[in-house]
């Protein structure tokens, strides 16, 4: 997974919880497949990492009916964790995507605390750069959301995963909580190496012609530029309360957006929904960050992290 760092990206190289990243720009789980789908548009090895599709122990069919809908400067999805299961991932997907030389971060969801442990252990293999615990996906009825809104449950998931893997463990926080800081601290205390935030906000759309919910699962996860203000606020709050690095995400679609997250306290960022509008957007974001660093006479992204000035 090592590869030659491009000359131009000297400034962008970073290291987060032991994960060496050519750039601090990753792609968010569920929006970028396994990376390979974007190989025509993106130099995958230039990304800080690809957070692959949510993976579960057993294959999952996901939700029926309409799965996405557009909202003002956003979209809602209720994919419902469709995935072929961890066995297929390990046997078929992982060997296939190794050629791209990218950091593969596996996003996992479990129905029980134990399942997170089992998944973490199964994925403790070469070719996996880190494990991201999805405790916040709002689309799965059993389990999922409970872990994401209860600090004790989230902490238990982190501990279980840490017990079963030597890979860095990332806990992905849900924004659908009263107090994101308490959630973050609980997960840090439980041993999370990195926190990523935010997952989607829970939303709903009603089709006024059919008088039914648009989405097959009634509600869906809201993502895209519309949620950026909430994401920046939460990253800023969490950054002040914890010492572990943060991967910030939520509505990032330009380098300016990314800079906002760095200033707020994110050590790296992930791009989700914006990949749909422009499959090449991550590369443009890398270039833009590099220019910004140059203009501000900074030689590394670290010099920007958390540097928002509050009077």
């Amino acid at each position: 997974m090592s590869h030659v760092l491009q000359e131009k990206d000297q400034r962008l190289h970073t290291n987060i919880a032991g994960i060496s990243m050519n750039t601090p720009v990753l792609t968010a789980s569920g929006t970028f497949g396994f990376g390979e789908e974007f190989a025509d548009f993106v130099d995958l090895s230039r990304l800080g990492g690809v957070m692959v599709k949510g993976t579960t122990l057993k294959p999952r069919r996901g939700n029926d009916g309409v799965r996405i809908t557009e909202s003002p400067m956003g979209m809602m999805n209720c994919i419902g964790l469709e995935n072929p299961g961890v066995d297929v991932f390990l046997k078929e997907t992982l060997p296939r995507i190794e050629q791209y030389g990218m950091n593969t971060i596996v996003n996992i969801s479990g129905g029980t605390v134990e399942e997170y442990g089992i998944l973490a252990e199964m994925l403790d293999v070469p070719g996996v750069a880190a494990i991201e615990l999805n405790v916040s996906c709002p689309n799965v009825k059993e389990g999922g959301i409970v872990f994401g809104t209860d600090p004790k449950a989230a902490a238990a998931v982190v501990r279980e995963a840490k017990k079963h893997t030597k890979k860095p463990v990332i806990l992905k926080l849900s924004p659908n909580v009263t107090d994101i800081v308490t959630m973050a601290k609980a997960c840090e205390d439980a041993g999370a190496d990195i926190l990523s935030l935010i997952n989607t906000l829970m939303g709903m759309e009603i089709n006024i012609h059919t008088q039914r919910p648009t989405l097959g699962n009634i509600t869906g996860g809201l993502s895209g530029p519309c949620i950026k203000p909430v994401a920046v606020r939460m990253v800023w709050q969490v950054a002040q309360a914890v010492n572990v690095p943060i991967i910030g995400m939520g509505g990032i679609s330009s380098f300016e957006d990314a800079i906002e997250f760095f200033l707020a306290g994110a050590s790296a960022v992930a791009v989700g929904t914006a990949n749909f509008a422009d499959p090449n957007v991550t590369m443009k974001i890398c270039d833009g960050i590099d220019n910004y660093l140059a203009e501000h006479k900074l030689d590394s992204i670290e010099q920007l992290v958390g540097k928002v000035q509050i009077d």
């Binding site: 569920g30 929006t31 970028f32 497949g33 396994f34 789908e37 974007f38 190989a39 025509d40 548009f41 130099d43 995958l44 599709k53 069919r61 996901g62 309409v66 799965r67 996405i68 809908t69 557009e70 400067m73 956003g74 979209m75 999805n77 994919i79 469709e82 791209y100 895209g224 530029p225 929904t273 990949n275 749909f276 509008a277 422009d278 499959p279 090449n280």
Partner: protein
């Protein structure tokens, strides 16, 4: 990764925008990289940059001219994205992502195209690709809706029409006339595109007549690249497939029981 790219995302110049019928437009853009790669039945994702559309909009490829480097789309205005699309003028720019998905089988010897509504757009490309070997059966509510006749003329051998009100061709649906055509002629493939209910009926009739049938499906799309799983469908063997990547063209038996 120096593999040849199968898909591109490019800013394409609008060559022309033409109203074909009530709310139906034909848009021609200059996109040589797409024209070069395009196969009949594939689609593109158009990025409509007026601030109000976050997601791209999928449209089938109605024609591709490799020499001129142009690609054509025929679409109906139904919502805000297609409304904004219809306001583009020659000289404007639109970002085209494609070509996407898999097309129809062009190795058929004597295919019958069956289409209704906007479904007639991707099969127009197929008719052109088959270089006059295909026949087309088109259905519409009234004669007016079958403005498509002019577009297919010269690209197919025979054109059969059905209208709900009998104002042109056979009164009824495409499914009314189809059994007769399949019985009479020696088709080795039925290529269907239109409302799902129509395609289901056609697939059933084709099966009864032992003729292979391909259908082109529609599902709301996010990425168009097989990454987001927005466009999942069930296959008859219990699998999930993606319309954007595994389709939009499927063997009828794969998707309709």
């Amino acid at each position: 990764m120096a593999l040849p790219k199968k898909k591109v995302a490019i800013d394409a110049k609008v060559i022309s925008q033409q109203a074909l019928y009530d709310h139906v437009f034909k848009l021609v853009v200059e996109a040589p990289e797409v024209a070069e790669r395009a196969e009949a039945g594939q689609f593109v994702q158009l990025r409509i940059l007026n601030g109000s559309c976050l997601l791209r909009r999928p449209v089938g490829i109605a024609a591709a001219d490799k020499d001129k480097g142009t690609v054509a789309f025929i679409y109906r205005v139904v919502g805000k994205g297609t409304t904004a699309l219809s306001q583009l003028k020659a000289g404007d720019t639109i970002n085209v992502l494609g070509p996407l998905g898999h097309g129809f089988d062009i190795k058929a010897k004597k295919p019958l195209i069956v289409g209704g509504g906007m479904g007639l757009s991707p099969v127009l490309f197929y008719a052109a690709a088959m270089e006059g070997k295909a026949d087309v059966l088109m259905g519409g509510k009234t004669a007016g809706e079958l403005f498509w006749q002019d577009l297919f003329t010269g690209k197919v051998q025979d054109i059969f029409c059905t209208t709900d009100d009998g104002s042109l061709g056979t009164k009824g649906f495409t499914t009314t006339l189809l059994p007769e055509l399949l019985a009479k002629k020696d088709y080795d493939l039925v290529v269907a595109c239109g409302p799902e209910i129509m395609m289901k009926g056609i697939a059933k009739i084709a099966k009864e007549h032992g003729v292979r049938c391909q259908v082109s499906l529609e599902k709301r799309m996010g990425c168009g690249l097989g990454a987001c799983l927005s466009c999942s469908i069930d296959t008859t063997d219990g699998q999930r497939k993606k319309v954007c990547k595994d389709g939009p063209v499927f063997e009828a038996g794969e998707v309709f029981a």
